[in-house]
């Protein structure tokens, strides 16, 4: 399949049609997308600020219990996001802000996998009130910057063509 064929497949999908043609679906998806991003960012803040030492007095192991909240909220954001994409695949695909946003999401995902593989296990036995190691702090800082960047780029999609 060529690029154009793939894009038009998305465009003619039932999801694309629903988001385009039923007037309340787009605003509803937007609202859910916003709620999902808030929950995701909030849960990221708990973990990342604990690792950074800003919220040093939150015990590490229960803080890591917020991971499923991130994944659940991410699922909501991705599903509604696919809905937006299907409503106008060519528009999104060629949009600069959208492209930067997608690159940032991939970087955010790789950063999270790095944390999970290299740090999650070690950190969960970190005593209360203790500082995490510098690499863990770097990952946590990158995580907040990348995901805030994702929010900014998402909001710029209508403006940065």
């Amino acid at each position: 399949m060529t690029e154009t064929e793939i894009l038009s497949w998305f465009e003619s999908s039932w999801l694309g049609e629903a988001v385009r043609d039923i007037f309340w679906v787009f605003p509803t998806f937007e609202t859910l997308h916003f709620m999902g991003l808030c929950v995701m960012f909030g849960a990221l803040l708990v973990i990342d600020l604990r690792v950074l030492g800003v919220a040093r007095f939150i015990p590490m192991r229960p803080a890591l219990a917020f991971t499923p909240v991130i994944l659940l909220a991410f699922a909501v954001v991705v599903l509604t996001g696919i809905g937006f994409f299907c409503s106008d695949p060519t528009g999104y695909y060629t949009n600069l802000a959208f492209r930067i946003k997608m690159v940032l999401i991939v970087l955010g995902g790789l950063n999270a996998i790095w944390f999970w593989l290299a740090k999650q296990g070690k950190l969960s036995s970190l005593p209360d009130g203790e500082q995490a190691d510098p690499t863990a702090k770097l990952i946590a800082g990158l995580s907040l910057i990348i995901w805030a960047g994702v929010i900014v780029m998402g909001r710029l999609i209508p403006f940065l063509l």
């Binding site: 605003p27 937007e30 609202t31 916003f34 709620m35 991003l37 808030c38 929950v39 995701m40 960012f41 909030g42 849960a43 990221l44 803040l45 708990v46 600020l49 800003v54 919220a55 040093r56 007095f57 939150i58 015990p59 192991r61 229960p62 803080a63 219990a65 917020f66 909240v69 805030a148 929010i151 900014v152 998402g154 909001r155 710029l156 209508p158 403006f159 940065l160």
Partner: protein, 152 residues
């Protein structure tokens, strides 16, 4: 009414409407601030409702600074967005509902902090947390609808 027109004609009002980067940047800050406020408040609410019960409530204190920074960011960016189209927002019902929900959300948070001060989580605190969630998620919904409902 004259005040609203004055806001729209002020330097800030014109900047938001006419500069190339003013509106998108302020809108983007408004989204990041929203994620900070609603994100942190939601985590505290679900904690009070029983999630991650092993984190002592008092230890969330350090996150409040972040929620306040987000709130301040959104207050400033919100005022700027308001100046850009003051007459429409002022008379728009969903916008009025949004502001009301934010005021109620802040009050609910203040009440919740007092209710959980001595670490025990009462039924009343849980009710406040649920009410707080309704206010903030309602504010997001109303905020999104300002772009769709009640436009001339």
């Amino acid at each position: 009414m004259e005040f609203l027109i004055w806001l729209e004609e002020s330097g800030l009002g014109i900047w938001i409407r006419e500069s190339m980067w003013g509106y998108p940047l302020v809108l983007a800050s408004h989204a990041v601030g929203m994620a900070m406020v609603v994100g942190v408040v939601t985590m505290i609410d679900i904690r009070v409702l029983g999630f991650a019960a092993r984190i002592p409530i008092a230890n969330f204190n350090s996150l409040f600074a972040i929620a306040w920074i987000g709130f301040f960011l959104n207050f400033i960016s919100g005022c700027l967005l308001f100046c850009g189209d003051a007459q429409r927002f002022f008379f728009q019902t969903v916008f009025q509902i949004k502001i009301l929900l934010i005021v109620l959300g802040v009050i609910a948070l203040w009440v919740l902090l007092r209710q959980t001060r001595n670490a025990a989580i009462t039924r009343a605190a849980k009710l406040t947390a649920a009410f707080s969630l309704l206010c903030w998620f309602g504010a997001i919904t109303a905020g999104r609808l300002t772009a769709y409902i009640g436009l001339e």
